[in-house]
Amino acid sequence: MSAEPRPDPADAERIERFLAGDAAVVTEIRGWTARVVRLRAWGLRRDDDLVQDILVDLLRNLGADRFEGRSSLKTYVERVAKYRCIDALRRERHRRHLPLEETWEPEAPRADHPEQRVAADQEIRRAYAVLARLPERCRALLRRLLAEDASYEELAEEYGVARGTIKSRVARCREHANALRRRMGGSP
């Protein structure tokens, strides 16, 4: 039977000193974290708040013995930093699209098309992007109707409204989806 992974002794000592607030180790781990946050790959501005947020995560995770020693401590720290950078990118992406999500009325097409990707199917990806940006109430409704083949009658019963109300809600959600798609550079 193989033994459970454990941090190597040097990393175990480093963690202990980090949790105790040892100046040199805090600086070292902060350096690992800051280096990941400042990678050009993310396209993020210098963000010391993010570095601090990641240190909070590390203090909590390491203090709760979440580090199992499957990798080196440095690799673990870099992974935590990476996923927080991805979270930051996602928040940024969400902010960019927030006006769309809050706007119900169709908007005029924009000239700036998204960058072209080498993708298996642009249409599918564009449709996914539209659906991902729809308000949750629309996603849920369209999912039941289109992906789960619920009938208008079933939806009317589930939502406790008239069949006609469901039809008009679906129509509004479809209009919203068309507006989003136009704005993203596709034909309605």
């Binding site: 607030g21 040892d22 601090q52 580090f67």
Partner: protein, 223 residues
């Protein structure tokens, strides 16, 4: 109508409504796919087939790995003075947050096996705000709240020590800590309060340093 939508859902089914994988899953997928189980890997594979945003995130992760492997960091920091053990147990440590922010660290349930999953939830909120918009703190299972605040460099070096006083909405002193050492070289201070006997309401943390006073409002909430 929108035939494009019907066509896409007809072709890909519920995948068109799938949620993005959590970012930590995407990191493991890029860095160490072997640490994911087969179902998780398959789920990410399928999602990437339809989601440009996650494909872009994955490309950034690969680029980041390339950058990281290309150079070693130069870690050169100023001398630090971490002496948090005087204030906190290791499980209650919180480092610095942003300039003029106060962080309220809420220790939630540990739970789960995932080593990357954040333990509990850290809420970062702005300080020096209207009382009605103050950060909200709820005591953890031990009845404590942990506050972190930053006293910025005044041009003569970072703050190394300060006196801290917490007062309630009526101005009564709830707790006082003298000569609190900073956590790091950036003027970060951390305070773990026993809030078990404190009523819910608005409080003010006032830090006094060589420049004078700086106040951080927070609201204590009870579940």
């Amino acid at each position: 109508m929108n035939d494009w939508l019907d066509d896409a859902v007809r072709r890909e089914g519920a995948l068109m409504f799938s949620e993005h994988p959590e970012s930590r899953i995407l990191v493991l997928y890029a860095d160490a796919a072997a640490e994911l189980d087969a179902a998780e890997r398959r789920s990410v594979d399928e999602h990437l087939r339809v989601c440009d945003a996650c494909a872009e995130d994955l490309a950034r992760l690969h680029a980041a790995a390339g950058e990281l492997s290309g150079e070693e960091p130069a870690v050169a920091g100023p001398g630090l003075r971490g002496r948090l053990a005087q204030l906190l147990t290791p499980r209650l440590l919180v480092p610095a947050l942003a300039l003029t922010t106060v962080a309220v660290l809420l220790l939630g349930p540990g739970g789960g096996e995932d080593p990357l999953r954040p333990v509990g939830r850290a809420v970062v909120l702005r300080a020096e705000v209207e009382r009605g918009a103050a950060p909200v703190a709820a005591p953890d299972v031990h009845g404590r709240v942990t506050l972190s605040f930053l006293l910025p460099d005044d041009g003569e070096g970072p703050m190394e020590r300060c006196d801290v006083q917490v007062t309630d909405a009526a101005g009564r002193t709830v707790t006082r800590h003298a000569d609190v050492p900073a956590f790091d070289a950036y003027g970060t201070f951390v305070l773990s309060l026993d809030a078990s006997a404190l009523p819910a309401g608005d409080y003010l943390l006032t830090a006094r340093d060589r420049l004078g006073e700086r106040s951080f409002a927070f609201t204590l909430e009870r579940p």
